[in-house]
Amino acid sequence: MPPAEQQQAVVEVINLHKYFGDLEVLKGIDLKVFQGDVVTVLGSSGSGKSTLLRCINFLESPTSGEVRIAGRPMGVRYDKTGKKHFESNRNITKMRSEIGMVFQQFNIWPHMTVLENVIEAPVHVKKMPKQEARELGKAYLKKVDLLDKMDEYPARLSGGQQQRVAIARALAMQPKVMLFDEPTSALDPELIGEVLEVIKALAMEGTTMMVVTHEVGFAREVSNRMVFLHDGLVEDDGPPSQVIDNSKSERCRQFFSKMLH
């Protein structure tokens, strides 16, 4: 593998600021995620973790700074004179389809069966033939171990199963990177394991991903990099063992000592 500096980053975040009204939630974030990276993002609530993910796929538009996906600026374009413009909705939409996202609240569509949920975007966004999409959808449902539920409506599924459908749905678009926004926070404790197992399996296969999570043990196990956010800034960034056990940051050490004891 070439050294990181020469590689094209899959996700590059440059001096990202985000305000909600007068409140500055992100205060200048810089971050690079490379092919095959599993980056976990930790931090106390209100530190800007979710906002960071939502800015990366432009569900929130950054106030300033930039996000690049495989080198292309997300949501903005530059004209010949170098002036910055907002990208058209059509192009933002197109770039979003290259970024998978899994939400805390699953957000599975209840009026569609499990398989219909998974093939919706491949069929209607990518214009994939329906039969081909069904085969693809089944393959991903098999991956999350829900093939037997493909014709059920989501209301008949547990939270853990719904979240696994959401993961299959995001994967079916074959995105360059997967973003997980606290994927287990809304689950009953006994259902967390099955979802973490699926994410772990994806990580082992080399899926590039960013995971916002509170599961320290999981984060230590699966990620090759951990980013600790505090108050809208990257407080520490490095291998999980270093961030969790030997951080130079006082805040980071405090956070983990509270989490682990």
Binding site: N89, R90, T93, S97, E98, W109, P110, V125, A155
Partner: protein
């Protein structure tokens, strides 16, 4: 109370005698109903979209539209569209304008009910959780696609009983169009009444026909839509 009169109320043979003539009237009720329902649903949906627009300057127009037509009695609106609007148009276009009674009926009822439906559509669409839209956006779906594939299919299932109520009211309101001389069932009944001088069986007949029709149709719609509407919610 004259017993003969009372007996006459229930004697529908006169109504039966004129059945083809009266049926032609009923056809007008259906004709005007379908056209004004189409107008009401499309305009109501448009006004609902305006009320929810991301551009704030558009929203007041949607609100104004809905409030204007929702708070104006159907009968007043019918008369206004039929007698006043042509005059205004004639002044604007500097030409003689006349509305065919059916056109006025469709416009008047369609606009009135689009006002009611605006609110039904708006609340129905806003009841869909935001997360469902965000999931669509995150997958690269466009706004139109999300509306068509995610929002409307869910919203319509929730709104259907309310929309059906509005449609029943609209069908009932089609009996008002005889007042601007559309030859609907009520209009035909009044014509036969003038000839036969026996209003009681005719009006009873009209009441029974309307009652049975509306009852049958709304029950049929319930019967066929209930499973489709709720099956996905059952655990």
């Amino acid at each position: 109370m004259d017993f003969e009169n009372l007996k006459e109320v229930a004697d529908l043979s006169l109504f039966w005698e004129y059945r083809y003539f009266l049926l032609r009237g009923l056809a007008y009720n259906f004709y005007v109903f379908f056209l004004s329902a189409t107008l009401a649903i499309s305009m109501g949906f448009l006004a609902a979209l305006m009320r929810m627009s991301q551009w704030s300057f558009v929203r007041p127009f949607g609100t104004l539209y809905a409030e204007l037509f929702r708070n104006c009695p159907e009968y007043v609106l019918l008369v206004w569209v039929h007698y006043v609007m042509p005059l205004l148009l004639a002044y604007l276009l500097q030409a003689k304008v006349n509305f065919h009674p059916v056109v006025s009926a469709v416009l008047g009822l369609g606009l009135a009910y689009s006002g009611y439906l605006t609110e039904t559509f708006r609340t129905g669409i806003q009841a869909i959780p935001r997360g469902h839209l965000e999931a669509g956006r995150a997958l690269g779906m466009s706004g139109g696609l999300i509306m068509r594939r995610i929002i409307i299919p869910q919203a319509i299932r929730q709104m259907l009983p309310e929309i059906m109520n509005q449609m029943v009211s609209l069908f009932k309101a089609t009996t008002l169009i005889s007042l601007i001389s559309v030859p609907d069932l009520m209009y035909q009944v009044s014509i036969v009444t003038q000839q036969e001088m026996r209003p009681l069986p005719l009006y009873s007949g009209a009441a029974v026909v309307y009652f049975l029709l509306i009852l049958a149709i709304s029950n049929l719609v319930d019967l066929f839509s209930e499973k489709w509407r709720t099956q996905y919610l059952t655990r």
